[in-house]
Structure formats: C-alpha cells, structure tokens
C-alpha cells in the first residue's frame, strides 16, 4: 500500500470509530458529563466549601484538573476496549484482517479513536467545570501535551485488554479493579503531601498520580511530583505498551486461530 492509501485506510478506521461513539452518544458522551457534574456539586460545592484550601487553591479549583483527567483516562480506555472487543465478538475484525491494512495502521486507528473520545469528553467536562469555578490555564503546551499523551497511553491499555478479553465480563475487570482504584488514589481529590510518609511513598508507584499532577501543573502551576520525570515515564510507557500491543496484533493473539 502506498502512504496515501495507508492514510486513507487510517482515516477510515478513525472515522468509523468516531461515528460509532457519536451514534451512541447517550452512552458515551452524556454519562461522563453527568457523573462529573455530580462530583462538582457534591465534592466541590457541598463538601469542598468545608474543606477549605488545598495546595494554595480552593478545593473546587484543586479537583477540577483531576476530574478532567479522570474523564479523559476512563473514556479513552473504555472506547478502545469496548470497540475492539465488539469488533472481535461480531467478527467484523475480519474485514480488516483480509484487507492489505498493516497492523500498525489498525492499532494507530483504534488508539486515535480512543484519544478523540477522551479529548471530547475532557472538553465537555472542562466546559461543565466553568459553571462551578473560574478556570485559567497556567501552561497551555504542558496541559495539551499531557492530556494527549495520557489519552494515548490509556487507549493502548484498552486495546491490550480487548485483545486478551474472551467475554464482556473481561472488559470490565480492569476498569473496576485496577483503573478506578488507581484513579481515585492518584491524587484527583487530595494532595499526596497530606498522606503519612509510608502511604506517600506507596502513592508514588501509581502511574496515574503522575498524569493527574502533570495536568494540574499545566492548569494551576502546582504539582506533587517532578513534571519532567512524569513526561519521561508517560512516553516510556507509551512506547513499551505500543510495541507490546503491536506484537499481540502481529502474532494474532485472540484474533487468529
């Protein structure tokens, strides 16, 4: 395939992905808006007003970056895991496998599909947050870059989960038992500086902490961790897991007998 043909094929996958989650926007775009709105009302307004300041900011201001990032993470992950597993389950993955599409185009197409949903939901949540607090961005390039990289990383995780999944139950195990706890313990609602030394050290092993804090740094200019190291860690994870996902696709794990 020429590069032009590959570009067309990539766009075909991406536009099908976008068409898919737009078609079912009541299940894909609306729920995160409602859930995050509830977080803003309950944690931000009702409880937050009693908590006072955190990291030098109003509690509402402090949790907004974390909530935006949480929505980006869960939606980019959920989009790819659900879409790719469905493709396997309904067997229309065969449409791609019989075609001359290289595997890396398939992978990149699905990843960017997940990234696009993560970012759209992130924008929706950001707009929601404007009803509750004034939001100014301290460092635009860092903010945009970290959202984009985080969405890529969790889209790759979603893809890997979908490859290994053998049933619909398997696609909910990782979000329920790994992703949600790590997100909640990743400094979305609190600063890890509040924790005792031991739990603070344990928290440093949570990759989501780095993403949430880097994003918070981009918006508020404060972070519990070193932003440079956070970027390096995210990029290393992306490269490593991308190669692993590509290897799974090349070997036909879960898709070829």
């Amino acid at each position: 395939m020429s590069w032009r043909e590959k570009w067309i094929a990539f766009n075909t996958i991406l536009s099908r992905e976008i068409r898919r989650y737009m078609r079912i926007w009541l299940q894909t775009l609306l729920p995160p808006a409602i859930t995050t709105g509830l977080y803003f009302v309950i944690f931000g307004n009702l409880i937050g007003s009693r908590i006072g300041e955190m990291g030098g900011f109003d509690y509402m201001e402090y949790i907004v970056p974390g909530l935006i990032m949480m929505a980006v993470i869960t939606n980019s992950y959920a989009n790819v895991v659900a879409s790719f597993y469905n493709t396997k389950f309904q067997r229309h993955i065969e449409e791609m496998l019989v075609s001359p599409l290289p595997n890396y185009i398939i992978l990149v197409g699905y990843i960017l599909g997940g990234v696009s949903r993560g970012i759209i939901v992130g924008i929706i949540v950001t707009i929601m947050s404007l009803f509750f607090t004034d939001l100014s961005v301290d460092n635009i390039p860092i903010t945009i870059t970290v959202v984009f990289l985080t969405a890529i990383l969790f889209s790759i995780f979603g893809f890997i989960n979908a490859v290994f999944a053998n049933s619909f139950d398997d696609i909910s195990i990782v979000p329920t038992f790994i992703l949600t706890p790590l997100t909640y313990l990743g400094g979305v609602f609190y600063s890890i500086n509040m924790l005792p030394d031991f739990w603070r050290s344990v928290s440093m092993a949570n990759p989501i902490l780095y993403m949430v804090n880097t994003f918070r740094y981009g918006i508020l200019g404060v972070s519990d961790i070193n932003v440079t190291w956070a970027f390096i860690a995210i990029i290393v994870f992306i490269v490593g897991f991308f190669m692993f996902a590509l290897h799974l696709l090349n070997s036909g794990r879960g898709i070829r007998s």
């Binding site: 766009n11 309904q90 067997r91 449409e95 290289p102």
Partner: protein, 318 residues
C-alpha cells in the same frame, strides 16, 4: 496462463493438536471458476482462512498472483476478495457504510468508495436498503451484502465460501448468473459449496479435500467421466405390477408407476427405450437419481475414509 493462487505444502495444526491440513498443494489458474469441495471439517475453511490471514499456518506457502502472503502481504491482499460463510459485519452499521468502509481499508477515497458501493449495491439489488442498518436485512440480503463488500475493491481473485447457503432457489439462480457474469469479466473465482449442482454448473475445475488432504484435483469434465454408472428414475403412464425386465440393465421398482435403471458408462439410453417400447410401457418423465457430482463426491470421500481406517489398522501414523 498466469496462476491466481498457488498453495504449496500447506499444513495447519491447531493448538489442540488437531491437524487440519496435512500438506496441501493447489494451483488455480487466472480466470478459472474453481470449486473447492469437501465434507464438513475436511479443511476447506482452514485453507480459506489461511489464504485470507484469518488463520495462522503451521508451514507451507501461499501466493496470490505470484505474491507471497508473508513476504508481500499488501500486494497479495490487494487482489483478494472474500465472501465468508458466516455474517461478519457490524449489525449496527448502515449498509452503505459497511461497503464504503471496506473500500477505505483498500485505500480507495471516499468518493471512489461511494461510487463503487452504489454500482455494486445496485447490481445486487440492495441500493434501496443502503441506509438500513445491517441487522434489519433478511438472510439473503445479508449474503448479498457480503458479496458487494468483497467486490467493492474489484479483486482479481474472489473466494466465495458457501455464498448461497440459506438463500431461496430463485435468488440462488440469480446469484449464479451474477457469479458467472463476474467470472466472465475476468476475476478468478474459488467457490466452496454444499450444493454440488452449483459447483457442477458453474465451475470448470475442481479440487476435493478430505481429512486435510486433496483427494482429487482435476477439471470438472474429466471428473464426471469417471462415473462408472448413472442411475435414472423413470415415471410410467400406467401402473406396473413389477419392474420390467430389461436385457443387460439392472432395474429396480420404486412404486407402481416408477422404477430406476442403472446405466453403465459403456451402455446407452436408447436401448432402454427400445425395450420399453416393445413391452408397451409409456414413459412420461425421466431424471437422474442424484446429482452426478454428488455421486462421485460421496464415493471419493468414502474411499478416503476407508483408506484412513486401513492406515490406522496397519499402524501407520496419520
């Protein structure tokens, strides 16, 4: 004549240890209408799966128009179109989107994809359904949709894996005409089917696969001449008490107005009618007992089973 498909020493052993293909060699010439037949579980779908990259092979090579599917993956796949046995499209997408998306996977621009989609959807009578979601189509329409999807990038080699399964007779006949039309226009077609009448009327060459091996690979005409005898069923105008005795022919009564006659390859049918005329028996209709190819197919497959059993009995590893 160029070779559209070349398979050499193809083997497949599944993780369970089941050896589905035991070293298959097959060549299909460009422009051919080729039948790949075999009983269920013979290895047809595994062979097709390997050609289409849906199944990983254990060993051997597959070339499509001279392009190795491992070494020149993209070039080989560009020339290939597949209509699978089971529905494998998204049931929630619109018909037009399914077809145009498939075209996009082959690098066709959106406008080219829509133009081709319109052409083939019209050709197969699905244009009116273009905006319907696939799950609302009837079984026959879904089959035709898979044919349209396989044709949209205009492949030079088209594999049809039981394309008319579950389709009513009228539609099946019109699909035969369409397949013939495609083949006449140039593309090579490989057909697997359980309707042997379909293979006999459409295909010029044939391979029969059984228990992971090719047991016959020849042209349809030579295969049919291998039939040592054919059985005809004759219906009489008047009731007969018993089957007529015909010199040199084996005759068996089916009911009072119907009997069957076995005709050896070196005998003729005229002689039967002469003898029946002399006996004053009026024949009102005559037909083959079973499809000729079906008879051969059964005998070939039965032979393989017997020889496999004998191999096992003799302690030969199979």
């Amino acid at each position: 004549m160029a070779i559209a498909l070349s398979i050499k020493n193809l083997e497949k052993t599944y993780d369970t240890g089941f050896q589905a293909l035991k070293g298959i060699d097959l060549e299909v010439e460009q422009g051919d209408f080729f039948a790949l037949l075999g009983p269920n579980g013979a290895g047809k779908s595994t062979t097709i799966g390997i050609i289409c990259s849906l199944v990983n092979k254990s060993s051997g090579t597959v070339e499509i128009f001279g392009q190795d599917i491992d070494k020149n993956f993209s070039l080989a796949k560009k020339d290939l179109g597949v209509v699978p046995q089971e529905f494998n499209f998204s049931m929630f997408e619109k018909v037009i989107d399914i077809v145009a998306t498939q075209a996009g996977f082959y690098g066709l621009t959106r406008s080219q994809a829509l133009e081709r989609s319109e052409h083939y959807l019209k050709k197969l009578g699905l244009w009116d359904k273009r905006n319907e979601k696939a799950r609302f189509l009837s079984g026959g329409m879904k089959r035709r949709l898979m044919i349209v999807r396989a044709l949209v990038h205009e492949p030079r080699l088209l594999i049809l894996d039981e394309p008319t399964a579950g389709v009513d007779i009228e539609l099946r006949r019109s699909m035969w005409e369409f397949m013939q039309e495609i083949n006449d226009a140039g593309p090579t077609i490989i057909l697997t089917t359980h309707y042997l009448e379909e293979a006999e009327s459409l295909c010029r060459n044939i391979a029969i696969i059984d228990q992971g091996k090719i047991v016959k690979n020849t042209d349809m005409r030579s295969l049919l001449t291998q039939l040592s005898a054919e059985t005809f069923i004759l219906d009489t105008r008047n009731e007969l008490e018993k089957a007529p005795v015909l010199e040199n022919y084996s005759v068996k009564q089916i009911d009072s107005k119907c009997f069957e006659v076995e005709v050896e390859k070196d005998q003729n049918i005229n002689n039967i009618f002469e003898q029946l005329n002399q006996k004053g028996i009026d024949i009102v209709s005559m037909r083959n007992k079973v499809n000729r190819l079906e008879e051969l197919f059964v005998s070939l497959v039965e032979n393989t089973s017997v020889s496999e059993k004998e191999d096992v009995k003799d302690g030969v590893s199979v």
